[in-house]
Symmetry: C2
Subunit: 465 residues, 2 copies
């Protein structure tokens, strides 16, 4: 059933490399490479060489030498995909890479589809589905936190736990279904108290995972922050003050791509995504209201709201702005930022502090965006505002929307099972709900997978993964 | 004397790779990697493993796992640089690559300078200087022809021949210098007839190499083509017609960079570099003359001149243009292109053909740039115009300006030796000229090299090579 054809692709980056690597995997990976690779020293064929060894030699196309390369030889099942794998390290010229691919193809390999190496690793049991998905996350992660979450998922902590719970639940289903065979005798193979205990245990795990998604998603894609405030209050100046020094750090790491629509900032390994609220104007009251409405819409998308107030303006006006924002805020964190602290002097700061009492979701800072004063403190507040305790405890965090959806559905099915037991519904209905719960749990770990699901997961990979 | 410190760098490309490779080379390459690499299966240290083997494991930073990697282990002298070398294949995230580099550096490695791996390969006798220089050319080569020339130089055919001739010449110098010790006895250890025979042989080789540079340089950097003609004659249309379909091919090969100032076109594996002659206007005679003067300057830079004539214009005018260009042309190839052949009809074509007689360096084509008619024929003419016989015969071709310069100087010194013999100058002058010739030959193969020369050669490499 498994596709064992030999596939090949460039696995390394495309720009300015001294070395590039082409991976060949599948039944004939070694035989195909042997047709185009000559080792001048040993003269031996790769097929006669030991696994996990390196071989220097030349790639030959008829009489012509294409390149001098080093070949890494892996033999099934001890390789990335679980098949025979050859990795050819050649010189990084685009010409050589393309010619080498062509040569492999004309000798019987075919170009790998996006994610096909990792898909094969999954299908050959080298990793479960959530690990396979983590491969793409590990490669894409641009911040310390995103990397930590992805690498922990790659190691499989996540789905191990779910698999074990699923295993236990599977046992109960079998018991419940056995009861159905003896329906007339009114026996109870599945201890309902034990079952409820297990269901509760699963519930705790799933709920924690579901709840971790907000943080997980934010870490993966950046924590959305909206800067609210009137146009002249210094929003762009603040954004520049926040971004200026950090931008250099981002560009130090070659190959990171920045979202062009929104500005992202990496503070202490956490990515913040600043949602642009440009377009607010205060020339006329009517237009101002329109601007505020737009800002409100941006607030709905945010996890943190920075309300920027102009300390040189009237206190009442600022309090009014604050109340408007507070009314609109749901469960977002609010950081009230008094700007132009250098121009206003301390009386304005004291007045605002006296008038505003902060609740649990709120914080306050006084800065000068223009002079860059107190920006570091504001950054500390941003970090503090993100609840990172889950990260520090090495707890599993869900970052994948597909997992979140399956977990949520599993949770719903679970609640139906619990309610069913409480309402003493018949065994066949109970079994059906448990089956459903098992299904969604299985979708995460890949114990249950359809070609459609797999196709969807791996199509978002790049070629070469 | 040799720097044996351990150096590290990313050797693979920076954009969108699934896998990246970091190379560590030097005295402590294996020991340093052992501090951050754990093999979960064998638990063995890399230092206890055999050379030329592959090892799966984790990169560890304290308690944290940075990545799961495959390590390639090479031991001195059987490695690229001739030292102990470890190549770490990690996931291609920019974050992981940077962290891994930091980790290596904090454990005692330092970042490699541009070209430092290859420089060490040269200093450790793994390759001669012209081979080391070919590494950069192999990586940079974007066309079949450029690649062929670079790979042949990498294999060392070039400097082998020179080294042998230099060796023989060295023997003669020793003989001539021996004569100086016996100056009063008037002996002749160095047979002048034999010496002249050898000098002649060297002259043939060097002259061929010097002459190959025009083609070699053109292949490496693209054959410079200037399209001359008045503004409305259809220069841009022709350029677009030439480039249109080919551009797609260029962009198929990811990672190729195009010169932004000039347009390049790859025909049958040869790169043509079209020199922009925009800026010529014909509104007034004075300005027209200025425009022509500018075109003339571009012609001096070209190897091929395409003179574009408008067939719908008067024959006399076109002949006048042709004469102007012919007067200016030195040893460039000229292709006379009659454009707008679709509008003018065949009488205009016949008239021009009747009036113009082509010499050896000239060719003629009739096209419609707008309709893309006969563009393929023009491309054939371009290929034909380049003398590629040297390429087909697998002859050595010089592409490197440094080699060209050294060869030219060697040639000059050689002529002085020959003249000296003919004029029967004294042995000490003769020896001095031979020494000079030896010096320049040695500069190419690296038998003679100064830190300054080496610094200059390797500073143009990228880091990681």
């Amino acid at each position: 059933m498994l596709d064992q054809s030999t596939i090949c692709a460039i696995t390394t980056g495309t720009a300015n490399g001294a070395v590039a690597m082409i991976r060949v995997a599948g039944e004939n990976a070694i035989a195909i490479t042997d047709q185009i690779f000559k080792s001048p020293k040993s003269g031996k064929k790769l097929v006669d060489q030991k696994a996990n060894t390196l071989h220097f030699g030349r790639i030959i196309n008829g009489d012509e030498i294409l390149d001098e390369v080093v070949v890494s030889l892996f033999k099934a099942p001890h390789s990335y995909t679980g098949e025979d794998v050859v990795e050819i390290s050649c010189h990084g010229s685009a010409y050589i890479q393309q010619e080498l691919l062509q040569l492999l193809i004309s000798n019987g390999a075919r170009l790998a589809k996006p994610g096909e190496f990792t898909q094969r690793a999954f299908l050959n049991g080298k990793m479960d589905l959530s690990q396979a998905e983590a491969v793409a996350d590990v490669i894409a992660s641009g911040s310390k936190a995103a990397h930590k979450v992805a690498i922990s998922q790659l190691r499989g902590g996540f789905s191990n736990e779910l698999s074990q719970l699923r295993e236990q639940l599977l046992h109960f289903t079998a018991m419940v279904e056995l009861e159905l065979d003896f329906a007339e005798e009114d026996v109870e193979f599945a201890d309902r108290t034990e079952l409820k205990k297990l269901l509760n245990q699963i519930d705790v795990v799933i709920s924690r995972l579901v709840n971790s998604f907000q943080l997980g998603n934010a870490i993966k894609n950046g924590i959305p922050v909206t800067i609210a405030g009137e146009t002249n209050v210094g929003k762009s100046t603040l954004l520049n003050a926040l971004l200026n020094e950090e931008r250099a750090i981002v560009s130090d790491i070659e190959g990171t791509t920045r979202d062009v629509i929104e500005d992202t900032l990496n503070i202490d390994g956490i990515t913040f995504r600043f949602i642009d609220t440009a377009g607010i104007r205060t020339t006329e009251d009517q237009i101002e209201n329109l601007g505020i409405e737009r800002t409100f819409q941006k607030i709905d998308q945010a996890q943190i709201v920075l309300l920027l107030l102009d300390l040189t303006k009237k206190l009442d006006k600022n309090i009014e702005r604050l109340e408007e924002i507070r009314e609109r805020i749901d469960d977002q964190q609010l950081i009230i930022v008094g700007n132009k602290a250098d121009e206003s002097g301390s009386p304005a700061i004291r007045q605002l502090m006296a008038k505003v009492s902060l609740d649990d979701h709120e914080n306050m800072a006084f800065i000068s965006a223009k002079k860059g004063e107190n920006i570091d403190y504001l950054k500390e507040l941003l970090i503090e505002t993100v609840n990172l305790s889950q990260l520090d405890n090495d707890e599993v965090i869900v970052t994948n929307a597909r997992h979140f959806e399956a977990l949520s559905k599993a949770n719903e099915a679970l609640q139906r099972v619990v309610n069913g037991i409480d309402m003493q519904i018949s065994g066949d209905f109970l079994a059906q709900d448990i089956r459903e719960c098992l299904h969604f749990l299985g979708e995460i770990t890949g114990d249950i997978s359809t070609d459609e699901v797999l196709g969807h997961i791996f199509k978002n990979f790049c070629i070469g993964k």
